[in-house]
């Protein structure tokens, strides 16, 4: 009976437009926020993924780069290199630092770019110098653009004035971003005499990485966290901040979508009550009539999804060029579950019209 459902929908163009628009709005909302969440989750992991390490060694209790500070004495390096199976252990220094620019507080995560041991270089430099010299800093392009900090400008960081020498990419996370200074400058900004924040450990090819990790953790002062786990821990920061917001917006989106489809299908069912009565009279079973209503809801929902998903893609592409912070990634998986949610919305919102349909008395059709 799909043809009847479609004919009924097309007959009432205004109503169809409203229900498609309502679903499109809710899909746009859900997909954009999900894309933003995914984009940011990815970004935060992106830089960490480029850092060469099998294990991140942290001060016991520190699980990521942002929550609990991790400070380790440089002497830990001797312990680590002495652990059988460890190929290399290199210090990684970086911490979140705020500075004022144009009356606004800007957060950067300053990382020591140690060219001697090849640790702490930016993931990608897109403009200017790739390696900072003394008194210079490389900042993320997103921050440069959104805060209007140009290459050649100077910024005050922790009492020092640094000249912006280049823009890097792939290091922007929510409200702050990675920045890169020379080892010496970073040490004075981060104030870590004789200490660092993490050690990056690589494991010899022939050895069992898990065993090496437990040998390292024999020292109660440190934790060994696999690279994947460390990426995940940092990504979870985005999840923890965003999940409640996403859930609220998801619920709003679903409520809007369901209300709009529900109301349009319900009013259409009431208006067509007599025709449904006629169909009952001429021998169309209740079940098939329910199908007609559900098909109408689902068809409107699918159209709404197509419009909403296209809008979400267009909006995130457009917004990304105008608002650099707007980093989105819309994955197939997310498109799929949002589609499933849309279908579920359609089916659930047909329940009320279906109940109404069940009550139509076919004998009424003989009354003029």
């Amino acid at each position: 009976m799909l043809f009847l459902a479609i004919k009924n929908l097309v007959q009432e163009k205004t109503r169809l437009l409203i229900s498609v628009g309502g679903v499109a709005f809710s899909v746009l909302l859900i997909m954009s926020i999900q894309g933003l969440y995914q984009g940011w989750s990815n970004k935060i992991g992106e830089y960490i993924r480029t850092v060469p390490a099998d294990y991140w060694i942290t001060q016991t209790g520190a699980t990521d780069m942002f929550h609990t500070p991790s400070v380790l004495p440089l002497t830990v390096r001797d312990f680590l290199t002495g652990v059988p199976g460890v190929a290399s252990a290199k210090p990684f220094s970086g911490r979140r630092v705020a500075f004022a620019h144009n009356g606004k507080d800007i957060n950067v995560y300053v990382i020591a770019d140690d060219t001697e041991i090849n640790v702490g270089a930016p993931a990608r430099v897109v403009e200017g110098k790739a390696v900072p010299d003394k008194g210079e800093i490389i900042i993320d392009r997103v921050v440069g653009r959104s805060e209007n900090i140009r290459i050649g400008d100077t910024i005050p960081v922790a009492g020092r004035t640094l000249k912006v020498a280049g823009y890097s990419e792939g290091g922007y996370i929510l409200s702050f971003s990675f920045a890169f200074a020379t080892k010496e400058d970073a040490e004075s900004i981060l104030q870590l005499p004789g200490a660092t924040n993490f050690f990056l450990v690589t494991v010899k090819d022939s050895t069992d990485a898990n065993e090496v990790a437990s040998r390292i953790e024999a020292d109660p002062a440190v934790d060994a966290i696999t690279k994947d786990r460390f990426v995940e821990n940092n990504t979870n920061i985005v999840r923890d901040t965003f999940l409640p917001i996403i859930l609220v917006l998801l619920l709003i989106g679903i409520a809007v979508g369901m209300t709009v489809i529900g109301l349009t299908i319900f009013t259409s069912t009431i208006e067509k009550a007599r025709e449904y009565g006629v169909l009952k009279a001429i021998g169309v079973s209740n079940r098939r009539l329910y199908t007609v209503v559900v098909e109408q809801a689902v068809t409107a929902a699918v159209l709404g999804y197509i419009v909403g998903a296209d809008l979400a893609l267009a909006v995130s592409a457009a917004a990304g060029t105008f608002v650099p912070e707007f980093i989105t990634e819309i994955r197939w998986l997310d498109a799929a579950w949002i589609f499933a949610v849309t279908l579920a919305m359609a089916v659930v919102s047909s329940l009320l019209p279906v109940r109404r349909l069940a009550r139509i008395d076919p004998a009424e059709v003989f009354r003029a």
Partner: protein
């Protein structure tokens, strides 16, 4: 051969002192090829009787047999199926589906009965052509005149080769001439194919088509007389008896 047999059927609406007995101990048997005209004053129970025969309403007492089957023993899904296969309905207000074209309206019962779309379309087209509506196939009901709408409804009622066609005041929303023409067309088509027709109408001129004329008063059958039945029921070439 009895198509429908009404056995001592009554229908009471409501209860207590507001109860209305719309149909009062009616018995009636209709055979294949019968054309029964049911007449009677307003409120006499004609529509109620027709609704019960059409299984849209169940009797309070008595029973109705359709092709020897007691309808009270059937569930809603079986009744639905029975209506689809055995009955055609024609209404005073035409009751076409407004979103569908003439052709699609006629296809509806066919498709519901499981006839493939293509075959259903061909059948619908042929039926409409026989009712001189070959040029209106793609029109929506709102673009058809009353008489055209009723002819589409007749084609729809005949689509599944029903044994019995039930028509309640099919002429009431049409001008006298059109109403009569359309109803005669229905009777002719039906009797040519040996289908039974029950028509409820106030229109005395339909006596010319009827084989039997039944009068209902206060819910009771008070008279039955033969109709004039001067219709041309000879078969058209190409239309097989059912």
């Amino acid at each position: 051969m009895s198509v429908v047999s009404v056995e001592d059927v009554s229908k009471t609406f409501g209860a207590g002192h507001t109860a209305v007995t719309a149909v009062d101990h009616v018995s009636l048997s209709v055979d294949a090829g019968d054309i029964v005209l049911v007449m009677g004053p307003s409120g006499s129970g004609k529509t109620t009787l027709l609704s019960m025969i059409g299984t849209l309403m169940s009797p309070t007492t008595g029973r109705i047999l359709i092709s020897w089957q007691d309808t009270s023993t059937l569930g809603p899904a079986q009744l639905s199926r029975l209506r689809l296969k055995e009955f055609g309905f024609v209404f005073q207000t035409f009751n076409l589906l407004s979103a569908l074209t003439a052709e699609e309206n006629v296809m509806m019962p066919l498709v519901t009965a499981g006839v493939p779309r293509k075959e259903a379309r061909a059948k619908a087209r042929m039926a409409l052509e026989q009712l001189q509506l070959g040029h209106r196939l793609r029109n929506l009901p709102r673009d058809l005149s009353g008489g055209e709408k009723q002819r589409v409804a007749i084609a729809r009622s005949l689509a599944n080769d029903p044994r019995l066609i039930l028509a309640d005041e099919p002429t009431a929303n049409l001008d006298a001439k059109t109403g009569q023409d359309v109803t005669l067309l229905l009777c002719e088509t039906a009797c040519r194919e040996n289908r039974a027709v029950i028509i409820v109408s106030h229109d005395q001129r339909l006596r010319t088509a009827a084989k039997r004329v039944i009068t209902v008063e206060d819910g009771r059958l008070t008279a039955e007389e033969p109709g004039e039945h001067n219709l041309n029921c000879r078969m058209h070439p190409g239309t097989a008896p059912s």
